[in-house]
Each structure stands twice: as structure tokens, then as C-alpha cells.
Symmetry: C2
Subunit: 187 residues, 2 copies
DNA sequence: GTCTATAGATTGATAGAC
DNA sequence: GTCTATCAATCTATAGAC
């Protein structure tokens, strides 16, 4: 594997468990097996690393949403797949979504990363809006009033559910927090 | 004002904007107007400071919930007051709930603080459970099935809504994310 | 209770050899 | 592309004078 990719993998794992301010070049060097100084060849500064990280993450995430859209037809089925994917990405409750991890370190982040963070949320909400619009029309999600509001609420719900699971170190917290939404899925 | 209190105030503000790993004794010293070394007289280590911080925060938060319970009779009115209080505590979107800020830095926190974090969530969910149970009985909140699930979902929702508002630096994101829940309030 | 002085470790980052 | 060596800055923390 490319050293650059290995560094991104290590940085993603580290920032999703410790936050942006909670990991260092020394941590990455240890994990990848090179020296601290060598990292600067691939990413001149930590800001460059953070930007590459959120960029790759957003790309992967959006691709996952496209895949779900292609595979599932009903709105409710898409929602179920979304919740499953989000849950699976938590590594048993040990890691957070990168967007959540970065949101806390916002003040330490370069402007460009904050912008990416914003775009990430925007595109996620846009995708969820279509999902709820569809679920309303095909009757596979019950009680949908305003799809846009539902989308924003859904994103907030999964991010908050993730925080609870992490604080308690118990993935079941995630399931409990999303179960009311899940019960509205009508397949 | 007591120096100790001033330090706690500074530490709360700092950790709620930068996270636990994002502030230092130097920051507090600058804000309070004493030297770094003097802080150790009041809080021997950063771990002691963190514990005192979450402890005070939890006490204040629980008192606020008691006040709401005393002032409002209907479940829906309590819920509205809860959302208002949570929103007001965000300082216009610049700060997060301490529990959210600490959840990210979990790995850096001493065991005792993690335990407090857990208790904080537990008591919050317990209070919300009673609220939804009441709202179901007095018909002031619509569509309540399982009060416990609703409580966990509500806590996740406000925490996630807060993250979105912070990431976008726009308090309106909070309002949008909670509006679907708010529309279920039937007074 | 606050100060100066200082310690030892760690931070992100750079220069230059190989 | 990776290394050694080194940098200045910052981190939490301690000792001891006042």
C-alpha cells in the first residue's frame, strides 16, 4: 500500500477516536512505521493532512449514498440502509463520524476544512431530503410532513446517537436512540 | 469572585469551544489574569479540573431541569422549555454542551470524568422519559409510542442539532433540525 | 495564594545527508 | 522517499521564595 494512503488511514482512525486536537504526527509515524519527519514529505503541514482527510472521507461517504440509492427503490428501504451503514461505520462504538470529530475541533481547523465540513453536511441533508420525499410518496415512511426538516432531524439524530453510544461505550445506545425513527419505516 | 470559580468559568468556556484537548493552562491563566503555576494550587492536575467542571455542569443542568418541571405542567410545555434552554445555552452557536465537547475527547479523559458523562446522559434521559410519558397522557405531544425511546432520540436530536449549528456557524441549523419535533407539541 | 524559575516531555516543522 | 538531527514553541507539572 502507498505510504500516503497508509498515513491517511492512520490519521482517519486517530482523528475519529481522539479528535483533530487529540492526535499527533508521532502517533501516525508509530502506526505506519516511518519517522515523523517523513510525514511532511506527503503532507507539508497538519492542515494539508486534515484537508486531504475530509476530502477523501466525503468522497467515500457520498459514494456510499449513491450505492444505496442504486440498490434500494423504496424510501424506507433507503433509510434502513442509511442507518445500517452509519452504524457499521462506527467500529463498534469506538469511532465517530469524521464530521462529528472535526466539528468539535472547529476552532483549530483551517478555513478550507471547515468549508468541506459544511459541504459534507449540505450534501448529506440534500440526499436525505430526497429520501424522505420519496418515502412520503411511496408510503414507506410514516408521518412525513416536511422532507427537508425530516432530513436535518435525521442527520442530527444519527450524529447525536453516535455521541451517546461513544460516551457510554455501548453501541446499544445508538440503536435505542434511532429506534423511534426506525419504527416509522413501513415496508 | 473566587479565583477557583473564575478558573472553572474560563475552563468551561474554553472546553465548550475547543474541546478538552483544545485548551491549556496557559489559556486559562491569560483569561483569569494569574500565572499558569497558580492554577495548580486550585486544581493539582488537568484531570481534577475536568472532574470539577463536569460535576458543576451536571449540577447546574439538573437544577435547570428541576426548575422547568416546577414551572411547566404540560408535557409539551416542558419539552418546549427544554428546547429553549438548550438553545439558549449555545451562546449563539459558538459553544457546545460540555457533554458533547467531552465525548469527543473521551480517550484523553480520566475514568471518573467518563463516569460523570455517563451519569449526565442517564439522568437527562430519565427526565425526558417522564416528560414524554406525561405528554402522551395529557395529549400535549403527538405520536408518542415508547417514552424511553423518544427520550433517547430527543437527547440525540438536540446534541446532533447543536453539532450541525456549530459546523455551519449558523444557529438556524439547530432550529431546522428540531422543528419536526417541535411541531409535535400540541398545546 | 500567587509568584519566578525550571523541569521533562511533546508539539509541528525544517535542513540536509543518503 | 526516508532518514538523523535539530529547532522553537508549547504542554502539564513541580520546587521553593514571598
Amino acid at each position: 500500500m502507498e505510504t500516503k494512503t497508509a498515513l491517511l488511514n492512520a490519521a482517519e482512525r486517530a482523528s475519529r477516536t481522539h479528535g483533530y486536537d487529540g492526535f499527533s504526527y508521532a502517533d501516525l509515524a508509530r502506526e505506519v512505521g516511518i519517522r515523523k519527519a517523513s510525514i511532511h514529505h506527503h503532507f507539508p503541514g497538519k492542515a494539508d493532512l486534515a484537508l486531504a482527510l475530509i476530502n477523501r472521507y466525503r468522497g467515500n461517504f457520498e459514494q456510499a449514498l449513491v450505492d444505496i440509492s442504486a440498490k434500494q427503490n423504496l424510501g424506507g428501504a433507503k433509510l434502513q440502509a442509511y442507518l445500517d451503514a452509519y452504524r457499521a461505520g462506527m467500529s463498534g462504538g469506538k469511532t465517530m463520524c469524521l464530521a462529528v470529530a472535526f466539528s468539535i475541533g472547529r476552532e483549530s481547523l483551517p478555513e478550507a476544512v471547515v468549508k468541506e465540513l459544511h459541504t459534507f453536511h449540505q450534501s448529506g441533508i440534500a440526499w436525505l431530503s430526497e429520501l424522505f420525499e420519496l418515502g412520503k410518496q411511496d408510503n414507506s415512511i410514516t408521518g412525513v410532513s416536511n422532507p427537508e426538516f425530516e432530513a436535518a432531524a435525521c442527520l442530527a439524530l444519527v450524529e447525536g446517537a453516535q455521541l451517546q453510544a461513544r460516551a457510554a461505550d455501548d453501541l446499544a445506545r445508538f440503536d435505542i436512540a434511532v429506534s423511534a425513527l426506525q419504527q416509522r419505516i413501513n415496508l
